[in-house]
Symmetry: C2
Subunit: 458 residues, 2 copies
């Protein structure tokens, strides 16, 4: 009889796993359980939908359930929530439409993703069900927020969270002008915006947030939501006072969704709290794999376990898990945490370790910051700032942060990411044969200049 | 007594050498001999000047002669032509302002650059001095062409040469509209435009040339210029007929300027015809270095000697030569031949080996061509096509060609260039942790997709 592969989670990692397993194993029975109403959507596109720049939420769907059934013979069951795993009997208890049933498996892939760390409705001091409190990082949450914004009720929005999702969402809501412009306030608890970026990179950010018409309150922590039970949210109470609003948008960070896994004996990483996996994406339980935002992975530069929930890594891990669930022997090399963000008409990117992370990881780390430009000085050059983090002993590159005008960051970040993956030293970076064309790239790339200046200091 | 370092050539390689030597050797006497009227200019910017997009040719000057004298204590002597090297007596005979003098040296750096391979005035069948025949790849040539175009005489221009310089120049002249629009004809001898690019990459080019209003005649070879001796050029005679014109612009390829070096015993590379150097940029003569477009170098992927005259490599080689002339021990790792071109509202780039070059170099080479896009499908993605060349045996990447809409090529090319430098295999490329952000880069980069598809075929 053909093997049966069961996958819990139908977004990035889960569907990559299913598709890859199908390619290796034409006869396996492959089933994907998705708790939400929709599978296979690009969650990173949700801010653009909320900004009003994508006509329909359905444009974010990469492939329909029908596509998976017809073209890949994969059953994607939406509205199906896995509520218990029984590894001993190799089966999963699933709730769907009020009923429950058991699904058996030979191999299981857990791709349950991440959830908002802050749950203002339930866990908060005013644990009442208030209307107009949204968590827009899922399909349902974004849909609910969009619908509410189409009505008359909401004019003043408070976005909670100063990480990159909070920034993207605040920017998106400030751009939205249908049916009206919104008054957006961004409340960030941390001392600087853009967690994980070194301070130089976030420098210009408060001014840019302001120029987008967004009121920034930082550092400030939301202590409670205000409103009558069952009614709509009327305001937020923070450490320094009170703020009226018509809606609260929760972008307060994520944590891995691990309850289902840990309840059945799947081990979590002690430092990350995410599901521990080996380089084949296998958990401590034989035949049980995990991938995506619920799982930890290895930071390529430091070798340490990390939890970095990002879509690109989730897809790749899903492929590895799917290949191995189908009997393959693929290995996931780890991540750099490569991340880019565009907001307020500017771009930020980082890959590898920040200076602080590098020092904490025991490197003899130092950084070189350079403000440079995107092309030849006589052809309207755009600003690009780079911060290169390196190890003084080995002269190896450890990380790279970038900030720049539109179009200047992504390619340079990828270039640095490959150099990091290869473990290049500053000397090698300085001599990289990169593009020079006056209107496309300067004679000396910011990466070259930073490597050169760093070497002078050694 | 302080050492004396003499450098022949004051553009890219020569001045990098001088500056680097100064940094290592604060007391050396450093002199740069430049034949032309101006030193330290960005020759790659000349097409933008001719297009009328840079107000003055002087904007292309990176640093003035005064800057070099005052801030770096380097004597840059323009209008000084080296006419003979006497290695035995360590001196160079120099012609300047009608007079001659000898300049002694302890270390010599030859950075004489390249010259137009086709010399229509002298070497051609109608060896007469015709007016309005220009070689716009030097300061003087571009200045002369610009001055002529400001007058009334020139309306119909023939650009000779289908390499990237010919394309850039034809595009620049077609864009120029001061004092009038020009009728531009591009004559290319080869079977395809863009020598060194594989055929898929040049596919769309003839249509784009046409849409820029340029008449393309290809394959066609210029056999003679027409005009009365001493008068202006009246037309070109080609293999298939005759073409009236008011000016001829020579972009017919380059050859290394080696006469001065070879006349005094400096060895040339047998396959390249350019000055042979070791990885320290030293020639066969002790204490005599060469760098830039006059010298050969090593192709990183194949290890073979190559001659690839490009500005970025010239600058880096110059720095290595300068460091070593000042007593250092720096090594130049070689080049990939990374090149990008923007013309006709589109971009092309290549790095490493083409399929043809890879096969000729003895690799078990194969290529994967993919048409993909620059970002998420729901955010106005722009087309990007990639061709990845790889070795089937080792699965190593050998080269990468790209073609795409504005802003899509340079960063991806650099990313591939680093992977080539690191000798990455397809599997490693497929798992590279590159940026994904819906508006900046797609979930799967063209590089990822091509590597993935290539692996499927192995």
């Amino acid at each position: 009889m053909a093997e049966s592969i069961l996958i819990i989670g139908g977004v990035a990692a889960g569907l990559s796993a299913a598709s890859r397993a199908r390619r290796l194993s034409p006869r396996a029975r492959i089933t994907v359980l998705e708790r939400g109403p929709v599978a296979s959507y690009g969650a990173c596109g949700l801010p653009y939908f909320l900004a009003g720049e994508i006509a329909s939420l359905h444009r974010l769907i990469a492939h329909s359930v029908d596509f998976f059934r017809q073209h890949r013979q994969i059953d994607v069951l939406t509205g199906h929530e896995a509520v218990e795993i029984e590894p001993g009997r190799r089966r999963v208890r699933v709730r769907a439409g009020g009923a429950e049933q058991w699904h058996g498996y030979d191999r299981l892939v857990i791709a349950t993703g991440a959830r908002a760390r802050w749950q203002p409705q339930a866990g908060h001091s005013d644990a009442v069900r208030l209307r107009n409190v949204f968590t827009p990082t899922t399909w349902s949450g974004a849909q609910a927020l969009d619908e509410a914004l189409r009505g008359d009720e909401i004019r003043r929005v408070v976005v909670v969270g100063g990480g990159y999702i909070g920034l993207e969402m605040a920017d998106a809501l400030a751009r939205r002008n249908r049916p009206r412009r919104l008054e957006v306030t961004l409340i960030a608890a941390g001392p600087s915006l853009l967690r994980g970026f070194d301070a130089e990179m976030a420098q210009a950010l408060p001014a840019r947030v302001a120029s987008a018409g967004i009121v920034l309150r930082q550092p400030e922590r939301v202590e409670a939501l205000e409103g009558a039970p069952g009614g709509r949210v009327l305001g937020v109470r923070t450490g320094s006072g009170r703020l009226d609003c018509d809606a609260v948008v929760n972008c307060g960070g994520l944590r891995p969704e691990t309850a289902l896994a840990s309840d059945c004996g799947v081990a979590l990483g002690p430092t990350t709290g995410a599901i521990a996996v080996d380089e084949r994406q296998q958990t401590n339980l034989n035949g049980v794999y995990a991938a995506g935002d619920c799982a930890e992975t290895r930071q390529i530069v430091s070798g340490a376990p990390v939890w970095i929930p990002l879509g690109a890594a989730a897809n790749k891990q899903g492929r590895i898990a799917g290949e191995n669930a189908a009997g393959g022997r693929a290995r996931f090399p780890g991540v750099l945490g490569t991340l880019a963000l565009s907001a307020f008409g500017y771009e930020w990117g980082r890959t590898g370790l920040s200076l602080e992370q590098a020092q904490a990881a025991g490197f003899d780390a130092e950084a070189q910051y350079v403000e440079s430009s995107s092309r030849a000085g006589y052809l309207d050059p755009q600003p690009v700032a780079i911060k290169l983090i390196y190890d003084r002993r080995s002269q190896r590159l450890l990380g790279c942060h970038l900030r720049g005008a539109p179009g200047t960051v992504a390619g340079r970040l990828d270039t640095a990411a490959v150099a990091l993956t290869a473990g290049m030293r500053l000397e090698e970076v300085e001599m990289l044969d990169l593009v020079y064309a006056p209107d496309l790239a300067p004679l000396y790339e910011p990466l070259h200049i930073a490597a050169h200046l760093a070497r002078q200091r050694l």
